[in-house]
Amino acid sequence: MKPLLQVSGLNAWYGESHVLHGVDMTVGEGEMVTILGRNGVGKTTTLRTIMGIVRERKGQILFDGRDMMDVPLHRTAHAGIGFVPEERGIFATLTVEENLMLPPVVAGTGMGLDEIYELFPNLLERRTSPGTKLSGGEQQMLAIARILRTGVRLLVLDEPTEGLAPVIVQRIGEVLKKLKERGMTVLLVEQNFRFASRVADRFYLMEHGQMVADFPVGELPERMDMLHKVLGV
């Protein structure tokens, strides 16, 4: 499989605190990869650094063969990476639909509005209300939905199931599978291990700002012991 995203020797800092200590990882075209790890090991930071939000960084990030280290933040999306942050980032002053329409379309391959509303009927119903008047779960849906419109090639999701009802988690799982069928590449951070095991092709296990293990979904059963020890699942 052709690698779409290649990260090597990535280090990152928040001011004086050194958070990533040489992250190496690869995400293949069309693959769905999940990063697992305890609270605070640096999962979110990894995603934010790849996006270019955290800019105190060293190492190498190649996206589709292109060096991303010097690309300014507002060009990252145009290169084809879309981001759903952990805190969702719904805009209060915009209506649901304006939120949905906000991110500029970067390629013609995105979903249409109808398709999106079909996936997330809640959003259709609350279309004209201000974004943050949605419940936590609805906000999460909106955050994913709006990226689907833009036609990015790599979707970066930070804990998409946090705070969601089981039915919705299921629905999101289905959405992700559907996206995969369409050839979308997904990089996911998850605490919800059961959910992750249902959708991912491959896992990275993260500890102390580094990737400590990397295995495909098939090896899951024999890895359970280790995961148990590291994650407590």
Partner: protein, 260 residues
Amino acid sequence: MAINAVQTHEEPRVVLSARGLTKVFGAFAAVKDVDLDVHHARVHALIGPNGAGKTTVFNLLTKFLQPSAGTINLLGTDITNTAPDKVARMGLVRSFQISAVFPHLTVLDNVRVALQRPNNLATQFWLPMSSLDRLNQRAEELLAAVGLADARNTVAADLSYGRKRVLEIATTLALDPKVLLLDEPMAGMGQEDISTVSGIIRNVAKERAVLMVEHNLSVVADICHHVTVLQRGEILAEGDYATVSQDPRVRTAYMGTEEA
């Protein structure tokens, strides 16, 4: 008053009750005609799909929002029109969905701030800070109870997420509330923290009422005596976890086909 009159010796008494609770935002009814009774020495779960109105119910009960209709009764007093800080002083204390500590204070100070008010040490601007030292003993007991004794002098911002939530529970307990409202206390927690916090909640509920919103159904199954399922602002089902989780309507509306 009428509500209190019905209590019997067998059944734990009702400490917080709402009748016909309704909240309308513009044309949208987020909470519709909800009746709720929260009992002493019981853990009561409020579950439901996202956007069902759980947080809104919390906001209404704690008076952070004013209900559009309905009444709320706390320990025999009607609090439908009472200010939120007053409600807190009457013994109804909440936690927030997003963690709420005082980030730049030490863990000990976080708890002491909560202890100041019940100990009448909050408005004295002429006393030295050391006058607060007499709160230390109680504060340390509370920290020990939730397993934060070792972090006594750590600045709260430096705590891990899970331990912040635990600290928040400790400060809440400092007020010695009669009723505790917890909004998704386990959200974002790793498994090991979840067990700790479950244990703490179970302990706490021995002598007070707890109402909590939670999506982690294993926790609900584990520690909650009573479950209310909310959907689209209305009560869909009520009962103990076993009953509720078998209800087909609950399964389709909330749990899905398999347990998470």
